[in-house]
Every structure is written in C-alpha cells, then in structure tokens.
C-alpha cells in the first residue's frame, strides 16, 4: 500500500501556520502489555542505522520554513545512550532553524539518568514527558511496565534537578483491577510531585497487544460502565488541583500546555521523521514505513516511502479541525475556521452544531464553540456526527 511521497511541496494553506517536527525513536527495552506502537529492541547496530537514517531523511525532506516545536516520541527516546541523544539532538538543531520554542522528549522512568538528562539539556530540550502510568506497584506489574514506584520518584527528582522548563507525567486509569480510590490516590501522588503538566489515559485495548490477548482470554475484565465516572472525577479533581483541563486527556498549569500537540489538534503542519512517524505536511497526511530496516533502506536510497496516505483538502482539514478542535476545552472558533477553510461544508455543519447545543452537549462562549463536560465525554460520537453531516458521501 505504500507509495512514494512527492518531493516537491506546495503549501497546503495560503498562510502557513506553525510547523512541528515529530521524531519517532523506535526503541523499547521490553514491550508493555498495552502497547500498539511500532518499537523494537535497541541494538548498537540498530541505533547506528537509525541515526544515519534520520540524517538521510532530513536531507531528503527539508522543512520549507523554520520549525517551532519538536517532539521525540516512541518507543522510548530516553533509552538512547547520552552520546546518541547528543547526535540526534545535533541533527535536529541543524534541521529546525532558529524559531524553536518547545522541544519535548519522552522518557521512561527506568532509563532516566543524570548523563542522559545532561545531554538533553545541552542540545536544547525544554520539556520532559515521563511515562509514570501509576504509582501502584501491583498495577505497574500488571501493565508489564518495567519500572517501580521508587524509580518513578527518583527519576522525577532527577528531571527536576536538571531544571527543564516543563515536565509532564503520563498516568493511566481504568486499569484491570484498579479501584476508583486507587486511581484517585495515583492522581494525588502525581499532583503532590507538582509537575507542570499531566496526561491521563483511559486504558484502551488495542488489537495485537498482550493486554488484548489477556482480555480475549478472559484473564482481565473491562468495566466500561465505570469509565465515564473515572473520566469525570479526573477532570474535576485535576482542575481543582490547579491543572485545568485543556484537552480530553491533558491538563496543565497556566503557560504549560504542550504547544506541539495543540498545533496538531488545530490541524497545522508537522513533519514526521523516523520509522512509523506520521506527517501532515505539504498537502499530504501519511506515515513512514513502520519497520526500521525497511525505512533505513528506503531513505538510504533516497526515497521516502509512506503508508496510509490521505490527501489534505481544505474540506477534510476543516472537518478535522472541528472534530479534533472540539476535544479541546477551549473549543473552536467557527468564524476563524470558516475564514481559514472557506470552501468547506459549513452550511451542513451548522445544523449538527445547533443540535449539539440544543441537547446540552455543547455551548457558545464568546466567539468560541465548545463541548460541555458531558459533551466532551462524547467527543467521538460528536466527531462522527460532524463527519456524517459534513461529508455524507
């Protein structure tokens, strides 16, 4: 299903918005039970190829304007040796230009060392996102995560000591066997550490994960009835604790929302580098081949091979800007969107937005249109309703 990505690039929008860079670092020490990402075991040879490949891909695919945000995700970027982190950092520095405002790196608590943090600090990383998931030893074990509660706490202290401007912790809820009280206690412990940002994820079961297997074998059970309550309590609790919600799964102290992700949800552009990395750039949404060796071979031969290609029309971008924008607490500005994508099916959207408002799922606030708390719990259904209305096809 893969095809060549065109090398020439015409801007998708008349006025280019901010440009992001996503770098996928596909290495993990072990595979978490819930994981559906592309990742592989780190080997010296694999890492060397990876770095070489990134350099090649950067040469193949230069940005048309300065990059403002960078995000290293994975996998576990923080698993690379300090020297490799420095090398990757230098490549990125040279690629992005001089307008960078945010640079996030995902780390796993078990591999947070002073040397790595120092390397990251030196290359200019501004934000550390750490996958704590839980503070409960049993639940961590149940997830197949390779770290302990103590490691989370120690890693956090080290990150703080390295004085990154912004630190995020990832937490997961609705874990098999987790009670509501346990989850609230996880939240409290996270808040007590005073990170700048918190992401909370309801555990989802993706096919091809170990957890899925356990679920289908009946070894773990879902309690979807309870999930809506956990969502609501999380939202209330974190807002009260000084972390206002700004997206379905994201909470931040003022000034700390993740700019890179906000740009994505606003349907601006980003370039994705590395195996499995997705881009939305120059009129095309597509993902790189999800295989380290194949990706390496391709970029080595001067080709960028992508999958899941979607041509970005203003109509599609307008739909997505609404669908994903409504996941944001602030909501969307329909007038601004209509100005940005004048050719989209706004007349069709109007009816469904009015219905949502009438039913109490959405409300107007000044120029903004946003979902209510109850409506945000239905963000997927809202998305589908919008899609059905705007693109009845």
């Amino acid at each position: 299903m893969s095809e060549m990505l065109p090398m020439s690039s015409a801007p998708a929008e008349p006025v280019p918005g901010p440009l992001g860079l996503y770098v996928h670092v596909p290495f993990c020490a072990t595979t978490c039970d819930f994981c559906a990402f592309y990742q592989t075991r780190p080997t010296a040879e694999g890492i060397a190829r990876y770095l070489e490949g990134i350099a090649a891909e950067m040469r193949l695919f230069p940005p048309d304007r300065p990059v403002t945000t960078v995000f290293w995700g994975g996998g576990t970027p923080g698993l690379l040796a300090p020297s490799a982190l420095r090398r990757l950092g230098e490549l990125v520095r040279a690629y992005v230009g001089d307008q960078l405002v945010e640079w996030t790196v995902e780390m796993a608590p078990a591999s947070v060392t002073r040397a790595r943090l120092e390397a990251l600090r030196d290359v200019g990383v501004t934000r550390i996102s750490m996958g704590a998931q839980s503070f409960s030893p049993e639940l961590l074990a149940a997830l197949g995560r390779q770290h302990t509660r103590e490691q989370v706490l120690r890693a956090y202290d080290r990150v703080r000591a390295a004085e990154f401007p912004s630190v995020n912790l990832d937490l997961m809820f609705a874990l098999p066997g987790q009670t509501e009280a346990e989850w609230m206690s996880d939240l409290d412990q996270a808040v007590a550490l005073a990170p700048d940002h918190l992401s909370t994820y309801c555990l989802t079961f993706e096919e091809d994960t170990k957890l899925w297997v356990k679920l289908s074998e009946g070894r773990v059970k879902l309690d979807p009835e309870n999930e809506d309550r956990l969502y609501e309590r999380t939202w209330e609790h974190l807002t009260a604790a000084g972390y206002p919600q700004y997206e379905v799964a994201n909470f931040a102290r003022p000034g700390h929302p993740c700019l890179h992700n906000l740009n994505t949800w606003h349907m601006h552009e980003w370039i994705g580098l590395g195996p499995a990395a997705a881009s939305q750039y120059a009129g095309l949404r597509a993902a790189n081949t999800a295989d380290l060796n194949q990706w390496f071979e391709n970029v080595g031969q001067g080709r960028r091979v992508t999958e899941d290609r979607v041509e970005l029309t203003p109509e599609l971008l307008a739909q997505d800007a609404l669908i994903f924008g409504l996941r944001l607490t602030a909501g969307v500005n329909p007038v601004a969107l209509a100005r940005r994508f004048p050719s989209a099916q706004w007349d069709r959207a109007r009816g469904v937005l009015a219905d949502l408002e009438a039913e109490g799922w959405a409300e107007k606030s000044g120029p903004l249109f946003r979902l209510t708390t109850a409506g945000r719990l239905l963000a997927d259904a809202v998305g589908e309703a919008i899609l059905t209305a705007m693109d009845p096809g």
Partner: protein, 597 residues
C-alpha cells in the same frame, strides 16, 4: 389383484408413541424392505420432521402380506402428518383409507393428539383398531390404557392389541387384524373412474407428482384426466406404486394407492383433496370432503442481510413447490426493508418453514409478529379480510372486527389446573368443559382467540405443567372482539414491523412491554429519543432510549489522527446500514432482537 384382497389403512398416534418404529416393523415383517434398509427410517424422511417427531409429508407404502387364511393381501399403509396444523392433510390421508391403527403408548396413555386423531378417523368412518404399544416397558400401565380407551375414546377395550414395535411383539396380530377387521376398499363399484388426491410433490425432472388413492375405475398412461375441483385437464405420463420407492405400473385400479405423473409442472395446480376422473367419461360427483386449504397464520419474513432477498425469494419458491398450503407475496417494511408476507396453516407450519429456509436454503431471516386473518366490517360496505395490521382501515370507518377462534383440547395434570385456568383467562379464553382423564390428569375443552395462542401459549403451557401438558385444537368460529391497532413510534414515526392488532384491554400492557424492550435494545443515542405506543392516535405507553454517557478515546495525537479518522469514517459507514428514523440510527438487529422474544 382382486379388490377384496386390498386393505388401505394408516397409523395414528400422539407424537413419540412409536408410529415410526411400528411402521418399520410392519415393512420388515412383510419383507417390503430389509432390516438393513430400515436404518434410515423410511416413512419419516426429512431430518427436521424427525427432530420434531412429526411428519409433514405423507409417504405411502404398499406391502404384500400372506395372511393366515392363505391369501396374499395388498396392504397400503398411509402415513399421516402428526400435527394439528396439518389436520386437513391428515383428514385427506384418512379419507384414502378404510381403517386406522390407533397407537397408544402403554406408559403414557391417551394424550391430546390421540384424541384429536381418533376423532378425525371416526369422522372419516374408518374402522379404528386400538393398539397398546410399548408393552415391553416396565412402566407400561395396561389397566389405565384400557380404561382410557373406553372412557375417553369409547372403544371397547377387548379390541385392543398389545404390541411392542421395538421388541416385535404383536406384529402378526396387527397384520391379521388389518386383514380381518378393516373393510376392503369402498365405493369401488361407482360407474366412473374416481381417485382422491391426498398429496403432491415436486420433482425437478417430472414436474408435479400427485399421490392418489383410486376408488373406482382405472388410470393408465396416455389417459386424459380431469381434476374436478380445479377444473384442470392433463394427460397421464406415468403411474406407479410405492414399494416404498416409486415403482412404475401399467395401471392403477380401484383400491390402489400410488402416484401419477402428468403434464402438470407446478404442484400448486394440484390440490390436496381434489378428485381425479377421466375426461372421456367424467364422474358426476366428486369424492366427499374437498375443500381449499387456507392459511390461517401470517407473518412477514425478511432476509437479515438485504442482499439475500433474491436468495430468500427462490427459497420460498422452492418450498412452495412441495407445500401448496404455504403462500407468500412480496412486501416491504420501513424497519426491515424488502421481504415477503407469508401465510401458514398454523404455528408449527410457520416454524417449520422458517427453519427450513434457514437450514436447507441457508438464508438468515427475521419474522414479524404473526397475525391471523381478521374480518373487518365497515359502514355500509362488504366485509374485508385483513392479515396485516398495516392494512387495517381507519378506526373511524370500522363498525366491527371479528377474529378467528380455536377449540382447544388441553391435557394437563390436575395440579396445574388453577394455573392453566388463569392462563386461559389471560388469553381471553373460556373453558367449556372439564373431563377427568385419570386419577392425575384432566382435559379442558376451551375456546380461545387464535391470535392469543400465536406467541407464547404453548411454551407457557409446557412450563406450567413442566412438560406434561399438551394441546390440540381445531379452528372454530369467528367472533367479534374489541380489537384495536397498536402502533409503535420512534421519535414520532410509526415503525410498521411492530404494529399489531390487539384487544383494547391488553394494549397498554403490551405497549409498555414493547416500548421497554425497544428502549433496552436500541443502543444509547446522543440525542433524546422517545418510544411510544399509540392506539387511535392516543399515546398509551412511552419510554426513552438510553442517553449515551461516554464515547471518547483519550489518546489522540498526530500519529493517531489518520487512524481516528478511519474509525469515524467506518462508524459513519456503519450507520448508513442502520435504519435512520429521524436522527436515530438503529442497528437492524435491534428490531430483530425485539421481534425475537
């Protein structure tokens, strides 16, 4: 063969009393078929029928028996359908005989179908020979059986033959009784050729094949014959008897039971009960008892997958070929799409056809609520018949609606008496008579509206009596009823598949049940959806579809957008397959779920 050496008879029994086993034993004893061939029971061929212990199609067989008097007798054993839905067919098979063996399971005694079948046999003036079967069973109660014979069936007990089909006891006694007690073929001196059609089947190569009992005269290849009832003329291509395979013969003569292949292709053109005669010298009068069978119970049948419509259509066509009593025509429904309105003789007939569509024709179907034929009278107009609630005229124009009733014989243990009486009341029935069968059982004779027994009457009868109760019925008169049409509306729009004609007093309860079930089964919706039951434009019950509480995925970043989009697109496409009623999307199987129970 001399007519005086022919005997035509059948075996009648309650289900499981051993008819098949005994028939096989008779075939074996007369060396009609070998023991080995008997492994697949001959007279009861269809799987489905066997599973349900009933026979729908009659398969006659001719045996030759050398009696103690030294003569070789030709014995034609007619098989009869075992269920009341097919009572007309049964009566035609009986009409082709002069006698019947009435089988009674020695351990069970007389049961509902025993009584019903015995009455049918008496009505045809048959010589009834009682056989108490399964006497090998330790639980056999001969005393009870003989007492029941006398008390319930008024048959002298000393006539009863004691037998066991399984152990081969009494087989010769039975054959001797057939020869000695059953009269030779009647009406053979009638001056013209007459034969009774008691069944027909479809053969892909030879067309419609009629099963007939010749009463007088002869039928042979090349003769031109006339179906007197249908007025149809045709030429005989082949005649023969059942041995039990079809075996060609030159002629069929008075007293013979056999088959006739003619130029007729469609079995629907051959009516069970019709009289055959020769066009050359036609008979003046038909044989007695002919009537056109009419379906009594109707329902809509729809393919689960709308793409299966053609497949369903051809399945119905093929079933109809071998079952003239089954009728269908196309119809469409808002909720279920394109399908067929089908008519059946009764509930069991309906079930069997549905099951055969699923199993033999591999089409998944859903059926709407069964309905009966109502007689609707309007101001100053002729009566019209309505078998689909959707076709009921405006309530204001109706002066009276009449509904069919049944006369039911319900056999139950004494201890269930109270509960069954309340069940009958609940179903708007009246109990006309109560007879004691024995120390522990009674028989209730009731009149019930047919429509009340369509849904769950039999199941409840069985559950109240823990399986010991049984029921048999015949159709009764039409009687006026306080009947109304109840519509079910979703967001104010009536959903035709759920419309029904019900008694006014029962409408609120039924309406509540239906609304509740729909509210439970329709998946939660993002927008408020009212479900209402209405009679004459008044809302008599209502409920709400559950409101969706949560439908959100937490993780949604750059790399997830394509996947998320695809998922939403897929859901959107999925919804297209759903029934859209206003803003509500209802998965088609939601209706099906409700119709199922």
């Amino acid at each position: 063969m001399d007519v005086s050496l022919t005997r035509n008879f059948c075996i009648i029994a309650h289900v499981d009393h051993g008819k098949t086993t005994l028939s096989d034993r008779l075939l074996e004893y007369t060396s009609t078929v070998s023991e080995r061939m008997l492994t697949d029971q001959h007279l009861d061929a269809m799987d489905l029928e066997r599973e349900r212990g009933i026979t729908i199609k009659s398969h006659p067989v001719t045996m030759v028996y050398r009696a103690k008097d030294g003569h070789d007798y030709c014995l034609n054993l007619m098989d009869t359908p075992g269920h009341v839905d097919f009572s007309y067919e049964v009566s035609r098979s009986l009409a082709a005989c002069e006698g019947a063996l009435l089988l009674i399971d020695a351990a069970q005694g007389v049961e509902a179908q025993t009584v019903a079948n015995a009455h049918l046999a008496f009505a045809q003036d048959l010589k009834v020979i009682p056989v108490i079967n399964k006497i090998d069973l330790p639980s056999a109660d001969l005393e009870l059986c003989t007492k029941q014979l006398e008390d319930i069936l008024m048959i002298p007990a000393e006539e009863a033959i004691l037998a066991s089909g399984k152990s081969g006891i009494g087989i010769e006694d039975i054959l001797e009784a057939v020869v000695k007690q059953i009269p030779p073929p009647r009406w053979h001196n009638y001056p013209r050729t007459r034969a009774l059609i008691f069944d027909s089947i479809y053969d892909p190569y030879r067309g419609a094949i009629a099963y007939a009992r010749v009463f007088s005269g002869q039928l042979k290849v090349g003769d031109n014959m006339l179906f007197m009832g249908a007025g149809q003329k045709t030429e005989i291509k082949e005649v023969g008897i059942f041995t039990p395979k079809m075996a060609k013969k030159a002629v069929l003569s008075a007293g013979d039971v056999g088959y006739i292949v003619s130029t007729i292709k469609d079995p629907a053109d051959i009516n069970t009960g019709d009289t055959l005669t020769l066009t050359r010298e036609p008979a003046a009068d038909m044989l007695p008892g002919y009537k056109e069978v009419r379906p009594m119970v109707f329902c809509g049948l729809y393919p689960l997958e709308s793409s299966d419509y053609e497949k369903l259509k051809s399945a119905l066509g093929r079933l109809r070929l071998n079952d003239a009593a089954f009728v269908y025509q196309s119809e469409s429904s808002l909720a279920l799409g394109f399908g067929f309105r089908c008519g059946f003789l009764g509930l069991l007939h309906m079930e069997i056809i549905q099951e055969r569509i699923r199993r033999e024709h591999d089409v998944e179907i859903i059926s709407t609520y069964p309905s009966v034929i109502y007689q609707v009278f309007k101001h100053g107009q002729e009566m019209i018949e309505v078998d689909n609630p959707v076709n009921l005229p405006e309530p204001g124009s109706i002066t009276e609606i009449r509904e069919p009733t049944i006369k039911a014989a319900i056999h139950i243990p004494n201890t269930s008496m109270g509960d069954i009486m309340s069940l009958v009341m609940e179903k708007r029935g009246t109990i006309e008579q109560t007879d004691t069968l024995d120390a522990t059982r009674v028989m209730l004779t009731c009149v019930l509206p047919l429509n009340e027994i369509l849904i769950d009457f039999n199941d409840r009868l069985k559950s109240i009596t823990r399986g010991y109760g049984s029921m048999d019925y015949e159709l009764g008169e039409y009687q006026p009823g306080n009947l109304v049409k109840m519509d079910i509306m979703i967001n104010g729009e009536p959903v035709d598949a759920f419309s029904s004609i019900v008694h006014r007093d029962k409408a609120p309860g039924k309406g509540r049940d239906l609304c509740e079930k729909l509210a439970e089964i329709i998946p939660p919706q993002m927008f408020k959806v009212a479900i209402q039951a209405a009679v004459d434009g008044n809302i008599i019950a209502r409920d709400n579809v559950r409101v969706m509480r949560k439908d959100v995925t937490a993780k949604c970043y750059g790399g997830d957008i394509t996947r998320k989009r695809k998922l939403l697109d897929k859901q959107k496409e999925g919804k297209k397959k759903m029934k859209q009623i206003g803003r509500v999307s209802i998965p088609p199987d939601a209706f099906i779920q409700v119709l199922k129970n």
